[in-house]
Every structure is written in structure tokens, then in C-alpha cells.
């Protein structure tokens, strides 16, 4: 069977000559099992449960490292903290609930075609892409608005 995300991240760290510390292990583990696109604060809280002395700076440094290694993707939001995706660290669309801040991964076809068409018509060499849809998730639609 294919390696888990956790195993991939760990292997990549080791291969590139980075040290495996308890703090990094805790960050890796949390990112590898979170489909919720956690914020640095989310990761920090979770990691402190395992390893109480962990600092916020170390979490920032670790996610930056994982980003460099291609093992995590940063979703920057200018109006709130950034979020991180350790499960699918490559460009893909997101559905963002503006009420509860949940972020989901929809299935969406045809993005590669769209990108290719755009590159052809504009002359840009397109390297990456970001596609976010903002709205109200089904759960928040049920729970009446105050």
C-alpha cells in the first residue's frame, strides 16, 4: 500500500537531511490527520497537548519547512490567519464557509484545461493557481442566522 501522508512527510524530512525532533513529529502528525486545513494556532494548540513546551515560533518554522519540502501547502488569507493543508499539498479549489471558517475540498473537473487555455491566450507561464469559493456551508445554513 502507498505510504501515509505522515510517512511521506517524515521520509522527506530525513532524506533532505533535516532533524526529526519531537516538536516536528507532533506537527507532522497533526497535519497528516487534519482534513480541516488548520491554522498555525490550531496546530500550536494541538501540539502543545503532546509536547507542552513547544513554542509558536517553532510551529511557524516547521510549517515553513514543510512548505519548502512540498509536504504542506499554505492557504494565505489576508484578513485572518493562514491555513495549512498537509493532506493535499498541491493547488486545488477550496470551499470556504465565511460563517464557521470551515474549509472543504470539493471535486472539480476541468481546471487543468482552464489553466492551459489561459496560458495560451495570455502568454503567461502559469506556475500555480489558487481557487477559493466563499459562502455558507450546509451546516451553517441549517443553524438559522442570528
Amino acid at each position: 500500500m502507498p505510504p501515509t501522508r505522515f510517512q511521506s512527510m517524515l521520509a522527506n524530512l530525513r532524506t533532505q537531511g533535516h532533524r526529526v525532533t519531537p516538536q516536528r513529529l507532533a506537527v507532522l502528525r497533526y497535519l497528516a490527520e487534519s482534513a480541516e486545513h488548520p491554522s498555525v494556532e490550531d496546530i500550536y494548540r494541538a501540539v502543545k497537548a503532546d509536547f507542552p513546551t513547544t513554542s509558536l515560533a517553532t510551529v511557524y518554522k516547521t510549517v515553513a519547512l514543510l512548505k519548502e519540502l512540498g509536504e504542506a501547502m499554505e492557504l494565505g488569507f489576508s484578513d485572518s490567519g493562514n491555513r495549512y493543508d498537509g493532506l493535499r499539498p498541491y493547488p486545488h479549489p477550496h470551499l470556504v464557509c465565511t460563517r464557521c471558517r470551515k474549509i472543504m475540498d470539493p471535486d472539480l473537473e476541468g481546471i487543468a484545461d482552464l489553466t492551459a487555455e489561459l496560458a495560451r491566450e495570455s502568454g503567461f507561464r502559469i506556475l500555480t493557481q489558487r481557487m477559493d469559493f466563499f459562502g455558507i456551508c450546509p451546516d451553517c445554513q441549517k443553524n438559522a442566522s442570528p
Copy 2:
């Protein structure tokens, strides 16, 4: 003929009971004639040429007001300053050059269909959308990379 963007912005300000100050006029004028998606600093520099005592805070407050009125759209970037679009203040895709930071507006069909499909499949009520393609623009491709 239809009103210019400048005229629309000004009319909207007046209609909503906001005062028309020289500083606001200068910001409006600059946004109405900029296809470059300027940053607050860009606007600040331009406005100071017309009206030297203008403060950065006033520029921030003015773009925030225009955003509220629907006369400007904010393009948030977590890793650099935000950018503003006064010409097309509604969601549309952007082509961002990561070398020279130029932002262009490509023509792209089928986004409404994509959004509708996504809403149907996910149950989200989609309110807005953000679509950015990052790469190297034709100009920067010519000027060899260092």
C-alpha cells in the same frame, strides 16, 4: 454614454451621504484610471502628488469605504500588501506575475457554470469567489532570469 467609473464612484459616495473631500477625490480618480490593481502604497504615493498632506490612514479608510459601497474590490495577499481594483469591483479571475507583481484581467468563460455546479454538488450557498493564476508574464519571460 454610460457613466465613467469615476462618475459612478462619486455618485455613490454622494447618494450614500458621504462627504466629498479632496483626499477622497484623489483616491477615486486614481482608482478609476488604474488598470494595474494598485496597492495602498501606490495610491498613497499618487494621491500625495495631488494633495501632499494626505495620510496613509486616510487612504486605508477611503478604500475601505469604497469596498463597502461596492465601488472597489480588495485583492488580499497574505505575503505582500493588498491590491485594489476600482475598475471591475466584482469577482473575476486574475493573472499575477510573481516576478514584477503585475496583475492582469484575463477573459475567461465558464466560471458561472463552474460555481453553479459546485453549489449544487456541495450544498454550499456560494456568495463570492476568488481565482488567481500565478506565473511569469510575457515581459518578464523576455527579460532573461538572473
